[in-house]
Subunit: 470 residues, 3 copies
C-alpha cells in the first residue's frame, strides 16, 4: 500500500532559487478566496445539501476525466457504472467499481487527474494512501464513513473550500430553481448561473425543437420567428441576470462569425422549425447568433464567453449508448483571425463589450489569440482549458501568451469542473503553476519580486473577479 | 583535433537534484535489452553477415540524415557518392567523401545526428575523436581496420548491442528470403519482418502495376479485381506472420479513412489497372485500404501502424536523379480528428484491434492525438518520430502527450533507422531523455521515485514489447 | 517610485552551472558590432541628424508595440497622439501622453517591450527608474534635457550603439534620397536600403495605380505591360544595389508560389491597370511575382526575403482612421511545404540563389521550415520575428529549429525595428538568449564549450553578415 504526502513544494521547479521564490509567492496567494467563474457543478447539490451517497458516486461516475482514461485501457463503461440512455444494465455495485478504479490508479500517474485526486484524498478526505488493488475496500469504507459527517455536506465543503463565488452553467430554458432555492435559503454562499444557449442555437442538434418548446415555456412566449427567438433569449438573459448571472457561455464547433440580415436569419430559422435546415444553414446561423449574443451583451452587460474547437461525441457507439459528455469530445484545429473578424470589427472596439475567448488548439496561443487579445479592447483570452488545464498545459499557456498579450488581457483561472471535490485542488494547482511561472521570471530578472507579488494576486484572484464582473 | 568523451550525464538537466534522479533512473534501464519494433535495417546485412566494406559505405552513403545536412550547405550529392538512378558518375573515392564529411562535421553540432555519430564513434568504434579536416584520413584508416575484425560483423554487433528483437520493414511482395536465411541459420538473433503494403496501395505511384505483378507472383494468384487484391494481401500477411511479423506499417499522405462499397473499390481498382485513376481515386482508395487493413488486423492479430503527414520527394530534381529517400520528404500539416473518425468508429472500440498512429505534426500531440489515444481502447500513440526523434523533440512529446494520454497509451521507443550502427545510440538517447523527464517529474513531486522506476522500465522496454506483441 | 537596475545576468537560467556558462558566452559576444540586416528605421533620421524632439515623439508615438498594448486596455489611440489620416484632432500635449504611458507601465511587465524599454532607460538614457504615475513628469524632463545634448543625436547614437551596418526597408519607387545624403556626407556610418516591392506587386491594394505611377517616375519609363513592370523593377533593383542594398524583402499574405506564362501575367496586369483585377488575380500575381523576384535575385545577387502570414489591418475602424501599421496586423496559419514547392523546385538547388524565409506561425518551425531549410541549399530560415522576437519566442525558435536545420541554415538576428533607440536592447536580448541556449546545451553535454564559443559569435555576428552578404 502506497502512503503518500502532498509535498509542500509540489509542482515547483527544483532549482533552489526558483523554488524559494515560488514558495514565497504561493504563500501569498494560497489562502485567497476562490473565484470560480466558469464551471459545471450541479446547483442542486448546494440547494439540497444532502450527503454524498458514496465514494464511487462522488468521485468516479460523474467524472469523464476518470472514466475516459480507464476506457482507453479497455475497461468498458458499463463496468464503471456509467448509466446508459436506455437504462440497460450497468454495474450497480459501487464497491466493484471502486475496486476497478483502485486497481488501475497507476494509469493516472503524471496526469492532472492524478494530481487532483491525490489532493482530494489528502486535503479534503484526509486520507494519505493512494488507491490500489489491496487497499481499495478499506479506503472505500473510510471515505464512506466521512461522507456521513456534517462537515462533508456540500455547503460545509463550499465554505471550507473558501469559495467566494461559484458560477454554474445553465441552459437558456433552465428554471434556475436550485439557484432560487439557494438564494431564498438562510445560507449565504454565492452560487450564480451562467447563460448557455447552445441547445436552442444549434438547429441541427437532435431534439432542438424540443429545446425551443422548453424555451417558449420558460420565457412565456411563442417562438415562431427569429425575432421572437431573440426576444425570448433577451427575457431569459434578464432573468438569469436577476438571479445573479454575470456571464454567458457558448460552445461552438467553429468561432466563425457572420452577420445575416434579419430576413436571412428568419428564413433559416423557419427551415429549422420545419426540420429542413442543412449544415450550411447551421453554420451561418451559429455565426450570426454569436453576433446577436454580442449585441445583447453590450445591452445587458453580461460578459460573453466563446469556447470553440471540439468535435463533440466523436465516438458514435459511446454517444448512442451513453449520451453526451462521456470523454469522446476531441479537439480540432481552430481558426480565429478570420473567423472572429466580423465580430471584432463590429464590437471589438466597443468599451461596453466584454468577450472571453477559449481554445483547445495551443497552436493559436502565440499565432492568433495573444495578438488579438493584445489589440482589441473588448477581447480577453480565457485560461488554459479542458485538456490543457494541467501542469505543463498552464506553463505553456503563460509562456506562449504573456509576451504578446501581457498579463492583463487574460482572465485568471477557471476550474471548469463538474467534480465538486476537485475545485480546491484545481485552484491550488493553478496557483502553484502561476507562482512558479512568476518565480522563474523573477529568478531570470525579467520581473522583480514586488511586481511578482502583485501579479500573483492578480492572477489568482482579481483578474477573474474583474473580467467576470463578480 | 578534437578529442571528446561521452559525458556519463549527457542530456540530463544540469540542476543537481534532477540530474541525480535522472542518473539513478537511467542506471536502472541502460542495460535493458533493445526492443526495436519499427525500423529499416536491411535484413540482408544479418543474413549474409559480411564485414562492412568501409567507413563511408557504413556510415555515410546510406544515411539521408547525414547527406541532407551536407546538401543543405551546398555540397552536391554526387560528391557524397549517393548513387544516381541512371548510373551516371558520382564520386567513387570513399576517402574523398569521408574527407568532405569530416571537414563539415561542425554542421551536425546540436543535432541528433551529431549526438548519434558521437555515440557510434565513442561506444561502438571506440574512437574518441571528432572528425575534422585534419584527422579525416587517420580516422578512416582506424575505422577501416576495425571493420575487418570479427566483432564488427553485423551479427556480432547485434549481440553486442543487446538487441532482443529487431523488426525490419518489407514490401507486400517481398520474398523475405533474408529473414528465411536468418531463421534457418544456426544464429538465434530475432529479426522479424513488418508488412508494408504502400507500393501496392498507392495506385498513382509510377511503377504501381509492376508492384501488383510482383504481388501476383509472391502470392501465387492473379490480381484482376479488388477482391483478389485483398485476398493476395491476406495471403501475404499470413506468410509474413509465419515468418515472425507482428505488425504492419502504412505510410500515407493523409490519415483520411473512408469506407467504399466493394463495388466502388473495384471500380477504382479497375481504372487503376488501366492507368486511368485520378487523384481523387487515389485519395479514396488509400482511405478505404486503411479500413481494409484494420479489418485484416482484427482477423490476423497483426498490429496496425499508420504514419501520415510527409510530402514525399518534394525536390523533383533530386528525385529524378537519385530516387526515393534522399532527405527531400517534407512534413505537412496533418488532421486526425476528422480523418480517423470513420476508422475509429468502426474498429476503435474493438478489443481485438491494435492501432499505432504516428505524426510529424507536433501541433496535433495535445490537440488531437493525445485526446484520441486517451479515449479509444484500440488506439495508441507512436513515439516522437523521424524529425522529432531528438533530445528536444522527445522532451516535447512527453510534455505534450502524457497529461492527456498518460504513459500507457504510448508504445515506447522506435529507432526507425536504416543505419544499423546507430541503433544503440538512438535507444540510449531515448532512455536518457525519458529518465530525465521522469526525474523532472520526481523532483517536482508530481510522481514519486518508486513510480518513476517502474515507468522507466515500462517506457524503455515493456511498452514496445507489449504494444507490438513481441 | 520604482528604482531598478538591469541585472547583469538577466534572462539567463537561474541554475548556477548554466548561468556561469551563459555569462561567459555572453561576455564573448556582448561587444561585437551590431549587424542589423532587416529593419524599419527611417533613414531621414540619420541623414538629417537632428535632435529627437521629445520623449513621447522618440519613444511612444512611432512604436506600435507600445500603443497596441495600451489600446488593448481601453486607451483610445487619439489620447496617445497617434496621428489620424484625415488630420482630425488627437492629443497634442506630449506630456499628457507620457503621463498615460507612465501610469500604465505595469501593462508591459513580462513583455519584450517592457524589457527593451528598461534597457533603453537604463543603458541609453541612463535613467534607472521605471516610469509610473508619480515620476512621469520628472522623467519626461530628464529625458528631454538629455535629448538636447550632442551625444543623443542619431549619428552619435549609431556610433555609440556600435552598429556596423544598418539596413532600412524601402519601397520600389523610393528615391533613396536620405541614403544618398548619408553616402555623400562626411559621416561614414553604413546605412543601406532593402528593396521592398509590395506596394507595386499588390494589385488590389487601394492606391496601387498611384504606386505604379511613382515607379514609372522613379524608373524613368512607362509601365504599360507586365514586361515593362519587370524591366522597371530590374532598373530599380540595380539602383538600390548601387546605393548599397544587398537584399530584397517581400511581405505576402501567403507564401504561395506559381509560375504564370508571360501572357497570363500580362493579362492580369492589364486587368489590374483597368481596376478590374479580382482576388484570384491578386493571388496568382503575387505567387508569380515571387518567382520573378527569385529570378532577378539569381541575376543580380540580391538576397531574397519572404515574410508571409499576417492578415494586415484586421481592425477596419482603426485602419480607416489611422492607416497602416497600427498594431492591428494579426497572424494566420501559414503553409510552406506545398506553397513554396514551385519556387524551391525551380531555384532551390541553384547555388546562386539566396532565400530567407520568415514565419509568424511557430507550428511550422519543426514541421515545415526546419526540414525545408535543412534540405534546400538556397533556403535559410529567418529568426524568431515580430511577435516571437522575445525571450520565450527566441528560446522556442532555437529549441524547435536547431535539431533539424542545425545552426548554419539560420541567419542570425534581425531587430526589425522602427524604434531606433531599441536597437541595442534587441540585439542584447538576442545575444543573451542565444548565450543561454548554448549554455544549456553545454551544461547538458550536447555540445562542448569550445563549440559554444564559436557558435556564440556565429549567431551574434557572422551568420547575419554572411547570409545578407554584408
Amino acid at each position: 500500500m502506497s502512503v503518500f504526502e502532498l509535498h509542500p513544494d509540489r509542482f515547483f521547479d527544483p532549482e533552489p532559487k526558483v523554488r524559494n521564490i515560488a514558495r514565497a509567492l504561493y504563500e501569498n496567494v494560497k489562502n485567497l478566496p476562490i473565484i470560480s467563474p466558469h464551471g459545471h457543478v450541479d446547483p442542486q447539490l448546494l440547494a439540497d445539501n444532502l450527503p454524498f451517497p458514496d465514494p464511487t458516486e462522488l468521485l468516479l461516475i460523474p467524472d469523464h476525466y476518470i472514466f475516459r482514461m480507464l476506457y482507453s485501457q479497455g475497461i468498458p463503461l458499463e463496468k464503471l457504472g456509467v448509466p446508459t440512455i436506455d437504462g440497460s444494465h450497468v454495474e450497480k455495485d459501487h464497491r466493484k467499481i471502486w475496486q476497478i478504479f483502485s486497481s488501475n490508479f497507476h494509469l493516472f500517474t503524471g496526469t492532472p487527474t492524478g494530481a487532483w485526486l491525490e489532493h482530494e484524498f489528502a486535503e479534503v478526505l484526509e486520507i494519505n494512501k493512494k488507491p490500489d488493488a489491496d487497499n481499495a475496500m478499506r479506503l472505500y469504507d473510510e471515505i464512506q464513513e466521512k461522507l456521513k459527517s456534517p462537515e462533508f455536506r456540500p455547503r460545509a465543503l463550499f465554505e471550507q473550500f473558501n469559495i467566494e463565488v461559484l458560477s454554474t452553467t445553465d441552459g437558456a430554458a433552465d428554471s434556475l430553481e436550485h439557484h432560487k432555492t439557494i438564494l431564498q435559503s438562510a445560507w449565504d454562499g454565492r452560487v450564480v448561473p451562467a447563460f448557455r444557449p447552445d441547445a436552442v442555437v444549434n438547429i441541427l442538434m437532435p431534439g432542438w425543437k424540443l429545446e425551443i418548446e422548453k424555451l417558449e415555456k420558460a420565457s412565456g412566449m411563442e417562438i415562431t420567428s427569429f425575432q421572437s427567438l431573440i426576444l425570448a433569449l433577451k427575457k431569459r438573459r434578464a432573468y438569469f441576470k436577476k438571479m445573479g448571472a454575470t456571464s454567458t457561455d457558448q460552445g461552438v464547433f467553429s468561432p466563425f462569425t457572420h452577420k445575416l440580415s434579419e430576413k436571412e436569419a428568419d428564413t433559416i430559422f423557419q427551415r429549422a422549425l420545419k426540420g429542413q435546415a442543412n449544415i450550411n444553414d447551421a453554420h451561418l446561423f451559429t455565426a450570426h447568433m454569436l453576433m446577436e449574443m454580442a449585441c445583447m451583451s453590450i445591452d445587458d452587460g453580461l460578459v460573453m464567453q466563446i469556447h470553440p474547437g471540439s468535435l463533440r461525441n466523436h465516438n458514435n457507439a459511446i454517444f448512442k449508448k451513453f449520451g453526451l459528455d462521456k470523454g469522446c469530445d476531441i479537439p480540432v484545429q481552430t481558426e480565429y483571425t478570420n473567423n472572429l473578424r466580423t465580430l471584432l470589427n463590429s464590437y471589438g472596439n466597443n468599451p461596453g463589450f466584454n468577450l472571453i475567448v477559449f481554445t483547445l488548439d495551443e497552436a493559436t496561443y502565440t499565432r492568433e489569440l495573444a495578438p488579438l487579445a493584445g489589440h482589441y479592447p473588448a477581447m480577453k483570452l480565457g485560461p488554459a482549458w479542458w485538456f490543457h488545464d494541467s501542469i505543463e498545459g498552464m506553463a505553456r499557456y503563460r509562456q506562449m501568451v504573456t509576451e504578446t498579450a501581457g498579463f492583463y488581457n487574460t482572465v485568471g483561472f477557471n476550474d471548469d469542473t463538474r467534480a465538486f471535490l476537485s475545485i480546491p485542488s484545481r485552484h491550488d494547482l493553478s496557483r502553484r503553476i502561476d507562482s512558479n511561472y512568476l518565480a522563474r521570471q523573477v529568478a531570470r530578472h525579467i520581473i522583480d519580486i514586488e511586481e511578482a507579488k502583485v501579479l500573483g494576486k492578480v492572477l489568482a484572484y482579481s483578474l477573474a473577479k474583474e473580467a467576470y464582473k463578480l
